[in-house]
């Protein structure tokens, strides 16, 4: 199949899987923000009352993340091979730190997602060990206790900086790959990419930060 083999086809797969992941990032933020309204336990309970939905959703997410990572690594390795010799002097005109380090910000985000799942989904990290013998886990209590630890908050903040870098190139990039771009929109997308990624980063960091400074407590 052309889409799985060709350079443009695989970029399309990167773009579409990336867009689906951005939609997930938005939905996840909306879900997380229920913590500010005191609904997070009700929200978690509601989700877990539908195991088939949750598991189908998880399987789809795994497929999307898997596609995005596999093609991301493959395309990056090919790109390194296509440009094997470095210039003695190279001046960058347009490429940014974000655009040049997509693979690294992406892989760091993947590592963070594994940690995040081990912590709040599988619940095996030391800070959530206390939840082991609870029949129903108090999600609000779990989140607040974990984010009272400054080291954990720093890890989350760093991960969200990676998210900012990844999406500030990723958002304009997926629009370009879909072909939804012209001379007028190119600069607009560049700015929109930065603004939206900055919003997402700050919104996500706000939760652990609010807890750490004691504005949200048990």
């Amino acid at each position: 199949m052309r889409i799985f083999n060709s350079t443009v086809g695989r970029k399309l797969l990167m773009s579409i899987s990336g867009q689906l992941l951005i939609i997930f990032v938005l939905i996840h933020l909306a879900g997380n923000s229920t913590i500010y309204f005191g609904w997070i336990n009700a929200y978690a309970e509601h989700l877990h009352s539908m195991p088939p939905v949750v598991w189908v959703f998880r399987a789809i997410m795994l497929a999307i993340v898997g596609t995005h990572i596999c093609y991301g690594v493959m395309l990056t390795l090919e790109n390194k091979a296509a440009n094997p010799t470095n210039y003695a002097v190279k001046r960058q005109l347009k490429a940014s730190f974000a655009s040049e380090n997509m693979i690294w910000t992406g892989l760091l985000l993947a590592a963070f997602i594994v940690y995040h799942l081990l912590q709040f989904t599988v619940k095996v990290t030391p800070d959530v060990a206390w939840t082991a013998n609870q029949a129903v886990v108090d999600v609000f209590k779990m989140v607040v206790t974990s984010f009272s630890n400054a080291a954990i908050v720093v890890v989350y903040a760093l991960a969200m900086i990676m998210l900012f870098l990844h999406l500030s190139h990723g958002i304009p990039s997926f629009l370009q790959t879909m072909g939804w771009n012209n001379d007028k929109t190119i600069p607009v997308y560049g700015t929109a990419g930065k603004v939206i990624s900055a919003f997402l980063m700050l919104a996500y960091i706000s939760i652990p930060a609010t807890i750490l400074v004691g504005l949200l407590k048990l």
């Binding site: 052309r2 060709s6 296509a82 210039y87 370009q176």
Partner: protein
Amino acid sequence: MSAHTSNTMTITLHVWRQAGPNAPGKLEQYEAKNVSPDQSFLEMLDEVNEDLIKAGKDPIAFDHDCREGICGMCSSVINGVPHGGQVRTTACQLHMRTFKDGDAIYIEPWRAKAFPIIKDLIVDRNALERIMQAGGYTSCHTGGVPDGNAILIPKPEADYAMDAAECIGCGACVAACPNGSAMLYTSAKVAQLSVLPQGKAEAAERVCAMVDAMQENGFGNCSNHYECQAACPKGISVKFIAKLNREYQKALFK
């Protein structure tokens, strides 16, 4: 003329020298003396070469042809930017007045897997021609000369095609791309032909064939750094890459 002599500069050049495709290469240092600000970059190199020839040394091999900025032959990365970084200017149209007395200039060949070095600053750019051969044409019947207005082309579409047709095929986009990708070049050719009625008939086959040829010839994948547009001496826009992406999606369903 006094103005000519009083303004001359001395420039230190660091030039990539490589005897052949498989020979090891390295940067070598030369002094360019009495450089006039009115000289073009290539004229400055010509004078350095004359001195080298007089001294019985091998002159620096570099590509050039029209020296008017329209043929796409000149191809040097000057101080880290293809064609030297003056906006919309080929190396042959770059003038020494953009440099200062005492400057050091690094001159390197286009670097990409798809462009093997032939000698010094000359690279083999036939890979671009092979992309062109794969689909950069329209099939038409031969015969009598058709009437000039037999096929009406709206002005905006003609302009769009002409903007894409400005590409001189020099390969600066590939040289600038961190991925050694030829997407800007390929997209300019695809966009130019796909927007015109004569090219629409073969649009799907063309985009697939040219993208495949790009891949088969060792070019990398586009990851939207947009270095290509910034380095392009003709200012070809990455909007044509978006156009190629649209054409490719249409072709996927054919």
